[in-house]
Symmetry: C2
Subunit: 243 residues, 2 copies
DNA sequence: GCGATCCATTTGTCTATACATATTGGAGGC
DNA sequence: GCCTCCAATATGTATAGACAAATGGATCGC
């Protein structure tokens, strides 16, 4: 091939390739476990040297988007485990990791046109519908969390067919629905009303509340409010100043 | 130079170089703003090709440790701002950012040989001393946080000369003492005893408690427990799955 | 003294090549 | 069927050379 390094506009070739691959991964076109084309194949399809695609794949590996294995190839990785605060935990897995018996009960499920309150939480359009769920997670028979969730069926139409009386929405979403951005808000408040009753707590017991919103390429996916008994749950994060 | 790629043990050359440079930066030997040697110089001192040192410097730039400028060189950057949960906030700055009047009062300061409890919190040696402080932060005259802190004077000897009746330890440490690792634990609990009284809260009011430990190259610096009234403080984190 | 211009320097990107290393899949022996 | 060993293959690391782009500083003209 000829020496024409910055042909397309002003953007570097390896940047263009990286964006390409990232798009395919984040869009779900290449799901977790998918084998990314070999360096050899990429260098043919982009008409460039191996060093260039190697730089891209190494960078994606450093960013945790792919895992590279000698002789086997590069594979789209599952979302990395992060420090716990910045994780979206699967409550079922968390409970079982602690060696306790996991229990789950769907308390309520409705599909409705978004109310003003719903729209404040989920930012969907005025006439659009939302899926609202409320359920309880138990550890060894003791209530462990109340999950109050809104799902945007426009973003996740499959959710309407899902049977959430068996699979917790938390577990299902973590495993099935890719997301690109999330926000946590962590609050301490006193248990009251239905929350207190369903968690079998005295009124006023301190609870740790995690409100989380997730988006996929700017489109809201779900908003959840997880209320945990303060004495049963706390969050841990380890980090360094360099990020 | 000869072709002998993996001479020193089994560790890659570019990894060795990267560790070298990172150590110098994190140890403070190369402070923020310091000009890292040019690629040309590094390739001479490590007897390697430019591509190799370029790979190292590009990786450090991607990690945010250095900033690179054409013709000028590479410079050690200031620590990046992080998402709020993974930040060590300066409470004074936080309060003033919200447009409220900041107040501060030192409640207690003692220097003592570490008790068993102290050592559980700070992991200092058996006969070593610790600096223990307790203070209150106010926003617009209302109690905003109780700060319960241990400082390791072995790691931060300057702390012994500091006048903490004027400068909050939080503010002083954030500005003065570099750290390499930190851990947060976030808890919800009911206010009780001295905490409730000093925060002017009714017994049982939900509080958000942040326990933080910081280290510098493995040496413990400080351990702090910040107790905030739940209705006055919550934590926010925005993040993406790719890290 | 001041501003425009040019140049040397430094990083940015890319190529072609080379050898190292790990690992998978299969061939062959038992 | 199962184990061992081997070779093909994909990634990992490193090199030397090349040109591009940006810019700090010097030089030159006024």
């Amino acid at each position: 091939m000829s020496i024409e390094q910055k042909s397309a506009g002003t953007v570097a070739l390896y940047q263009r390739i990286r964006t390409d691959l990232e798009t395919r991964i984040l869009s779900g076109e290449w799901p977790p476990g998918y084998r990314v084309p070999f360096e050899h194949e990429l260098m043919q399809s982009y008409s460039c040297s191996r060093m260039t695609v190697n730089k891209v794949l190494s960078a994606l590996a450093a960013a945790g988007l792919v895992v590279r294995r000698r002789r086997a190839g590069s594979f789209v990785s599952r979302p990395r485990a992060q420090s716990a605060v910045l994780q979206i935990p699967d409550l079922k897995a968390e409970v079982e990791k602690r060696g306790e018996r996991y229990g789950y009960q769907l308390l309520k499920l409705t599909k409705r046109i978004a109310t003003a309150n719903d729209r404040a939480r989920l930012a969907v359009g005025a006439r659009e519908s939302v899926l609202a769920l409320r359920c309880r997670h138990d550890a060894d028979g003791e209530p462990f969390a109340i999950e109050d969730r809104l799902i945007n069926p426009q973003a996740v139409p499959v959710a309407l067919q899902q049977d959430f009386s068996v699979i917790p929405p938390n577990t299902w979403l973590v495993g099935q629905v890719p997301w690109t951005e999330a926000e946590h808000r962590i609050i301490a408040c006193n248990a009251a009303g239905a929350d207190a009753a369903e968690l079998k707590l005295d009124e006023g017991t301190a609870c740790l509340v995690i409100e989380r919103k997730t988006w996929r390429n700017g489109e809201p996916i779900t908003a959840v409010r997880l209320t945990h008994p303060g004495h049963l749950y706390n969050l841990i994060a380890r980090f360094t100043p360099t990020g």
